[in-house]
């Protein structure tokens, strides 16, 4: 029934586009890869964190004396140990709120704002003692009423998380009334009201989505050693060692050069390990105890104390004329920020209508505080929620107009030169090519038959990021090259970056030896996130390779005693342009140490030109009418990768994103009790899909080369989670003749809609 994964390729390269074995593969499959939990240091202490059992409470007093008296306890810290405790509003001025929120999410000072909020931490000789000590810490809480729903939090009279700290900032204006609405923003293009007046059909609906977790298999962990000379060494599981360095230095009020962060292997992040929770706490414990300290989270702590993606409420209205053209569109989004401001509502707003050529559009969004963990990035943050609403409304417009959903999308698709509602103009993009690949796909051309079955289609957008990256490349005498990078490898980026280096140098992939190193050992490199790593760090590798090539040319010219302009580098061979002189890369490498020394190429860059990504997903489902259970029968995901450097890892990203999106659509949610307690903080009851819940996810890689990258690369990691929520909802809607507007679409909710 399924078709093989396809690559619709435009350009062929020697190394790029091939599927070599990943450099970290052997260590990972043999269990030798070093994760944070594996780290052992002399005199290492083990720490655990005490967390608030209440979703909302004032912390009146913390008594740690009994815990301190327990044998084997070496240090206890609370918010009183953070620099914030010693700073006044006057000291911090306009930075007060930002710095308070940063500090308080590591260790709460005056209020616990969500169940799982860190209150204190204990370092002890072993983890069991640390756990026992937590039970001996007395915290005097004044329990307050929590608010865990975005709409309730926006009502007058809702419990306020930050009392008088937050005043809604809207379009440059700041209100004088305390509120849970941290900010409001709005973009407009054309005349939305007039566009609706010119439409023949209008669909308007409200949607909600639940808080969902990234669900990475490796819990957060951190080890820190605050040495006697003031140097703080940190080992952790992070998507961005330089972010950990910057924020650890910030919250501890030390210089960035005092902090060295070593990223260990990472067991998944999906955006959630851009944020971090433990490192400064481990550092404070280490300073107090005078020894290195390791702190680990349990799965429950990960759910309750680390960032989920925001729950949301949306109202979507779209109009189209009888010719099948969208005349106007409007979306209002309210996203849960969690305990502190900063939901991705802006990204949600700017992605919402990105697939559609709009003359008239309005997007607006609210960033709303609720008593949940501060939301963290999760794969295309904000875009899946917005697409869940928009793509269902588009589906309904197609139903009302009686037009094919792919044709309708093609008829309204953005292309190069289209302007988004909030302003930016698209460069060369591949939405039309993805939609055409969908239309031509055997899946789409095969009618879906049988009762209780439905087919859904949805498209999705993510802008992708550039940002800073650095690479150093050193030529070894055996002709291999050490490639030193700062990008943590989550999805095979060691391979895809090494491939770009090998392609540029014209040498074999196996001769590139990539290594991810600490923040003292490589230039500034932003997070592995934003679908930027293969694009930007790959580009840094290309530039560093070009640097190596230039130096190899100079060296050959010097050996031959000819002008360097007469020497060229071509496909791994340095040769004289007119004389019979040449060195292969390996031949020249062997001579470097005796002809002037080793060669190191370096590059640091902050590239623009990241190409935007689009995806189109097709899904067939069958819904059991008696139980409401949805079975995914078939799934095809189509995506523009620009150029797939390592197609297997692009397919892996597409399949992974689709699977996470299916989980989000069908079962995943934070289930809260009335008093704001998460009731399902385990993988048993937080129901992510298993392999038995899914068919093979077929993929089609479309390659519309990104003109903003030397090899045409576009980021691929995030956009595949955007379409599945709506694609599944559309499919279930067609199978049941019921439009389901609230996520997750559980068997229970399908059943409730029928009973």
């Amino acid at each position: 029934m399924t078709t093989p994964n396809q690559v619709l390729s435009e350009v062929e390269y020697d190394v790029i586009g091939k599927r070599p074995v990943r450099p970290d593969g052997v260590d990972k499959v043999t269990g030798r890869a070093q994760y944070g939990v594996d780290l052992e240091l002399t005199g290492l202490l083990h720490a655990r964190v005490l967390r608030s059992p209440h979703a909302h409470a004032r912390i009146k007093a913390i008594d740690t004396s009994k815990a301190e008296a327990l044998a084997g306890v070496r240090a206890i810290v609370t918010a009183a140990d953070l620099p914030f405790a010693a700073l006044s509003r006057e000291d911090l001025g306009n930075d007060y709120n930002r710095f308070k929120f940063l500090s308080d999410n590591f260790l709460a000072s005056d209020k616990a704002l969500y169940r799982g909020h860190a209150i204190a931490a204990v370092a002890a000789d072993n983890a069991h003692i640390a756990e026992s000590a937590l039970a001996l810490i007395d915290v005097d809480y004044e329990v307050l009423e929590p608010v865990v729903d975005v709409r309730a939090a926006m009502q007058d009279g809702s419990p306020l998380l930050h009392d008088d700290l937050i005043h809604t900032s809207a379009m440059g204006e700041i209100s004088d009334k305390p509120s849970n609405v941290a900010s409001y923003m709005k973009f407009e293009k054309g005349e939305t009201a007039a566009g609706f007046a010119n439409s023949d059909v209008i669909v308007e609906r409200e949607f909600t989505t639940a808080s969902v977790h990234q669900g990475y298999i490796e819990p957060h962990n951190a080890t820190a050693h605050w040495r006697a000379d003031g140097q703080i060494n940190v080992w952790c599981s992070t998507q961005g060692a330089f972010v950990v360095r910057a924020n650890t230095a910030d919250v501890l009020r030390v210089d960035v050069s005092d902090v060295r962060v070593t990223p260990m292997e990472i067991g998944g992040g999906f955006g959630g390990k851009v944020s971090f929770y433990l490192e400064p706490v481990a550092a404070l414990l280490s300073r107090k105890a005078g020894a290195p300290v390791k702190v680990l989270m349990s799965r429950t702590e990960v759910f309750e104390g680390s960032g989920p993606a925001p729950g949301s409420w949306m109202r979507v209205k779209m109009g189209a004329n009888s010719a099948g053209k969208i005349t106007a569109a409007e979306i209002e989004l309210a996203f849960e920020a969690g305990a502190y401001p900063g939901s991705p509502v802006m990204q949600g707003a700017t992605c919402a209508f990105a697939c559609y050529e709009l003359e008239n559009g309005t997007v607006s969004g609210y960033d709303v505080l609720v008593n949940k963990p501060k939301t963290a990035a999760y794969r295309a943050p904000g875009s899946p929620q917005a697409a869940f609403g928009v793509e269902q409304v588009v589906d309904e417009l197609c139903q009302k107009l009686g037009v094919d959903p792919v044709e309708f999308r093609l008829n309204n698709a953005v292309t190069e030169g289209s302007r988004k509602v909030e302003g930016p103009v698209f460069q060369k993009i591949g939405l039309v090519e993805c939609l055409e690949a969908a239309r031509n796909h055997e899946h789409y051309r095969t009618p879906l038959e049988g009762p209780n079955r439905g087919r859904g289609i949805a498209s999705g957008f993510w802008m992708n990021r550039g940002f800073h990256s650095s690479v150093n490349m050193t030529v070894n005498p055996d002709g291999t090259v050490n490639l030193i990078e700062g990008s943590v490898d989550i999805g095979g980026s060691r391979a895809s970056i090494a491939q770009q280096a090998a392609e540029t140098l014209g040498i074999s992939y196996e001769d590139i030896k990539p290594q991810v190193v600490d923040t003292d050992s490589i230039g500034y490199t932003m997070v592995t996130g934003g679908s930027r790593t293969t694009f930007a760090t790959g580009w840094a590798a290309i530039l560093a390779a070009e640097d190596v090539k230039g130096q190899m040319v100079e060296r050959a010219a010097s050996i031959w005693d000819v002008p360097s302009e007469d020497v060229e580098y071509d496909s791994g061979v340095v040769r004289h342009k007119s004389q019979e002189l040449s060195f292969t890369f390996k031949e020249l490498a062997r001579q470097l140490y005796t002809t002037g020394g080793g060669i190191t190429g370096t590059a640091s860059l902050d590239p623009t030109g990241e190409g935007n990504s689009f995806g189109v997903h097709l899904v067939d489902v069958e819904v059991d009418p008696e139980t409401g259970k949805t079975e995914i029968l078939r799934y095809t995901a189509i995506q523009d990768a620009g150029k797939a450097v390592h197609p297997s890892y692009v397919e892996g990203q597409i399949q992974g994103g689709a699977v996470q999106g299916i989980g989000w659509a069908l079962n995943e949610e934070y289930y809260f009790s009335d008093n704001g307690q998460m009731m399902n903080s385990s993988f048993l009851d937080y129901r992510m899909p298993t392999s038995l819940d899914l068919p093979m996810i077929d993929t089609v890689i479309v390659e519309v080369a990104n003109p903003g990258h030397p090899y045409g690369v576009r980021g691929v990691g995030e956009v595949p989670i955007v379409p599945p929520l709506a694609a599944v909802a559309n499919a279930v809607g067609h199978a049941t003749d019921q439009r389901l507007t609230n996520l997750p679409i559980t068997p229970g909710s399908v059943l409730e809609a029928r009973l």
Binding site: H128, E131, S132, E626, T627, G628, K629, L666, N667, Y671, M679, N680, F683, L684, D685, R687, P689, T690, L692, D693, T746, P747, G748, L751, E752, L755
Partner: protein, 291 residues
């Protein structure tokens, strides 16, 4: 987690004496798929774990003329890999093959499932509908308890301090009988039943009339429930859709579910009806030798 003692007795009497000496601070350990999770999660505190896997009587699986003697610590995989047992008790195999996951089934036992006494215990309804009996040994000797009376509340059973479940006795299947178990979970594995139902029927020689039936429910009350009225309603009736629908309705009435993160009261009542009808149909087909 505190340090605790682990004892591996080689005889039933040794196990009973250790359990008796420690009262409610000791528990037998079979597969450990529940108790170790509970200990690690701080949901249970103990001083002693008594390994049931080293006691011969608890690890035997034996088919005789009078039925199946199933040692309390026999793991699920040994049950469904036993051809004789699998042929005689497909309803039991339905449950043994879906508890947890393949890995869990390598350790978890049906005796442990009973002793854990979770309302959602998947193997308990088929043991009930098959007429299973729990054989218990303790400081006062042997006693037997019908499976439907074994659980007394969530996580609670008839076992007194010092007592240990040695085995489960299931009668030999009579002619023209069939049993089935189905549960509803939102995923396809690694999940806890939102509702579970086992049905067993005995048909007459023609295979058209139901002589007797038993229906038992999981996850819809504080303990697994024997839905007596639902089962009895079928006695003497033709194996028809109408009779099955009535049994489904009565089974649904026998459920006393709660609303929690896994499902709502309304959903669970509805699912009991659906699963009762589905399991009755499977049981009838099995009784007729059709599957």
């Amino acid at each position: 987690m505190r340090a605790i003692d682990y004892v591996a007795p080689t005889s039933l009497s040794e196990a009973v004496s250790v359990l008796s000496a420690n009262g409610d601070r000791a528990r037998p350990l079979a597969g450990g798929t529940d108790i170790i999770v509970q200990l690690r999660g701080g949901r249970r505190e103990l001083d002693v774990l008594v390994d049931a896997k080293t006691i011969p009587e608890l690890n035997q699986i034996e088919m005789t003329d009078s039925g199946l003697r199933l040692g309390a610590a026999v793991p699920c995989y040994e049950i469904y890999q036993n051809q004789q047992v699998a042929a005689a008790y497909p309803g039991l195999i339905d449950a043994a093959g879906l508890i947890g996951s393949i890995q869990i089934q390598g350790r978890a036992s049906i005796g442990g499932n009973l002793c854990n006494a979770a309302p959602s215990g998947d193997s308990i309804p088929p043991v009930i509908t098959l007429g299973g009996e729990a054989h218990i040994n303790g400081p006062n000797g042997w006693r037997a308890v019908a499976a439907e009376n074994f659980c007394t509340g969530p996580g609670r059973s008839v076992l007194e301090p010092g007592e240990i479940l040695v085995g489960i006795q299931i009668p030999a299947p009579v002619a023209n009988s069939g049993t089935a178990y189905l549960r509803f979970i939102p995923r396809n594995e690694m999940d806890i039943a939102v509702a579970g139902v086992s049905s067993s029927v005995v048909l007459d020689a023609s295979g058209q009339t139901i002589q007797s039936a038993r229906i038992a429910l999981a996850s819809v009350g504080p303990t697994p429930i024997l839905a007596t009225a639902a089962g009895d309603s079928l006695a003497g009736k033709a194996a028809s859709d109408d009779a099955i629908a009535e049994a489904g309705r009565l089974a649904s009435e026998a459920a006393t579910p709660i609303t929690d993160m896994r499902g709502t009261i309304r959903q669970r009542h509805h699912l009991v009806d659906v699963l009762t009808r589905r399991t009755l149909n499977i049981a009838i087909r099995r009784a007729r030798g059709e599957e």
